[in-house]
Subunit: 333 residues, 2 copies
């Protein structure tokens, strides 16, 4: 009998999650029924939106106390009771924090390992990359002379946003939380500038780097960075609201920027949810695969090994201490 290692939510986190909020259990691995498959998890993706599921207020649903922690993962099919997949296929599914998930074949998606390094399919070539791509190609109305600002700039969404904008000829400024991250953003990802908000007041940093105002602001965090950016929009600015890291760890819903900033700039502010843009995925995957092969896109991963390391990395992610896409390598490819 094979074992399935699972990590459960022991108790809903209050504030920033701690490792003791999670619990590892070993259970007998289930067998797939008709239409199902059993996978061996290779890579597990840890993403900020999971904090909302722990609180029970994310639009994709809640994780309950005692329940399996949620998350997208790449798995190798080890047993299939579905015509859609065969043993050895690599699939992506929201199969959660477990080593040997049983997955309904209809909720799994085949991935093409030829597209690039497999782990990138959870980051720059996966959901975060698609988020950035949808935002920049569909919502940003990007023009070559635009001054583009993006928060969480060294993360998988932010770094892709900035690199797409650079390819379109824009002037790109990142916001990140350490000098090491800022250095990577400028020297590796090719941004024009990066503000370390822990060392420079945001308003000063934005004035210094965007003296003519911000044309496009892609927001992954909300809170103070959103507020400071709204105050310095150029006329006709576009703002994409995508993530709310600044408020994931608090229970009340804080207020946002005054509407006067939107009026003054005649800005267009749009909400982005990646689930709406699934139709873009084939085009996006081909594009990002080509960029990766041509060396045109840089990415950074913060990878740990072993499923048991997931809670620790997730807690670091929620403290903003990770650097790059948070990924757990669960088993060898």
């Amino acid at each position: 009998m094979s074992v399935n290692t699972r990590i459960l939510l022991k108790q809903r986190s209050r504030g920033i999650p701690r490792e003791q909020d999670f619990e590892l259990v070993n259970v007998a691995a289930d067998s797939p029924a008709a239409g199902e498959l059993r996978g061996e998890t290779l890579y597990l993706s840890l993403d900020p939106y999971l904090r909302g599921k722990i609180s029970g207020r994310h639009l994709s649903g809640a994780v309950n106390e005692g329940g399996l922690m949620a998350g997208e993962a790449l798995s190798r099919v080890v047993e299939s009771k579905s015509d859609k997949f065969k043993e050895g296929d690599i699939i992506a599914a929201h199969s959660g924090w477990q080593s040997h998930p049983v997955i309904n074949a209809d909720s799994a998606r085949a991935v093409n390992p030829e597209l690039g390094p497999l782990s990138t399919l959870l980051g720059i070539s996966g959901m975060p990359g698609l988020t950035a791509y949808a935002g920049m190609t569909r919502l940003a109305e990007l023009k070559p002379a635009d001054v583009v600002v993006v928060s969480a700039a060294s993360g998988p969404v932010g770094s892709m946003v900035g690199q797409i904008a650079k390819q379109r000829g824009c002037h790109v400024v990142g916001v990140a939380g350490s000098n090491e991250k800022c250095r990577w953003v400028v020297e590796q990802a090719g941004f024009d500038d990066c503000i370390n908000y822990r060392e420079e007041a945001l308003r000063d940093g934005l004035k210094r780097t965007c003296p003519g105002g911000i044309d496009v602001y892609f927001d992954n965090v909300g809170g103070d960075v959103l507020q400071a950016s709204m105050e310095q929009l150029a006329l006709g600015a576009r703002v994409i609201l995508c993530g709310l890291m600044a408020q994931y760890n608090i229970n009340e819903m804080p207020p946002g920027p005054n509407p006067a900033f939107t009026i003054k700039a005649r800005a267009t502010v749009r909400g982005l949810v990646v689930y709406d843009h699934e139709d873009l995925r084939p085009e996006f995957e081909q594009q990002v695969s080509a960029w990766l092969k041509q060396g045109k896109i840089k990415y950074k991963e913060d990878m740990v090994e072993g499923l048991e390391a997931a809670p620790g990395l997730f807690c670091r992610l929620m403290r903003g201490e990770n650097f790059g896409k948070a990924i757990v390598k669960v088993a060898e490819q």
Copy 2:
């Protein structure tokens, strides 16, 4: 020597303006120099944005203490030193609260008295009407099945917004501050419903009248009405931010709604400033004139007589106690 009666800002208002913040003076009327004209003011428009000029923070500039109160007015030309206008022409200009302004001809605009009752050129056929028209035709991406909500619904912008939406087949709900206003909005202006926010909790009223959510929210007030509306947006909603009556009388800039509401609804939020849409005016004027002649548009005016009545009406407007477009009839047409 003829007299020019002027109303000055005696002191910057703190909170809601009071009549003693203004001062009436009689001075000798100036004569026009080359390129100028002298007018006799017929109708003076009082609008909420003037409160921002008193505070010195409106994007069109400030009114200083001791300075002439600003405002758009219709005048008859009584003396012209410009080729552009002749005696007897009716013009619109931002000539302020005075009976006999001297106006640079380049800053005046001829108006066509055939378009409709002259006073409407300051309301439904003028700047407020154009504001509504630009918002609904350019920014709202209106669809016939949309549920449209508009605040300050009995005012010149709000009543026009709702009536344009009704003409396009939308379901239209107003928000206003008295049962009398709500009755007019439904019975005269033809809205489907109207919430009196002084008698029914806004969130309840919006749930009752828009059970499937709000597709288009046209905001003239900000504050609580904006917050409650953002909480009940339908997927793909469009929000037009136009006025901020809720904060004109306070000095600090209060926060706005949390960005999560925009994200959850995948909403598009746009800032509207009517000055950007001057190019629409000819089309708009022809359209609204036809509607007026066909009886297809209703409007309500709150008109007082005599320039000396301007401060009282302005203070009522800023207390939300006016009903309809605030206009001062200064002289007989």
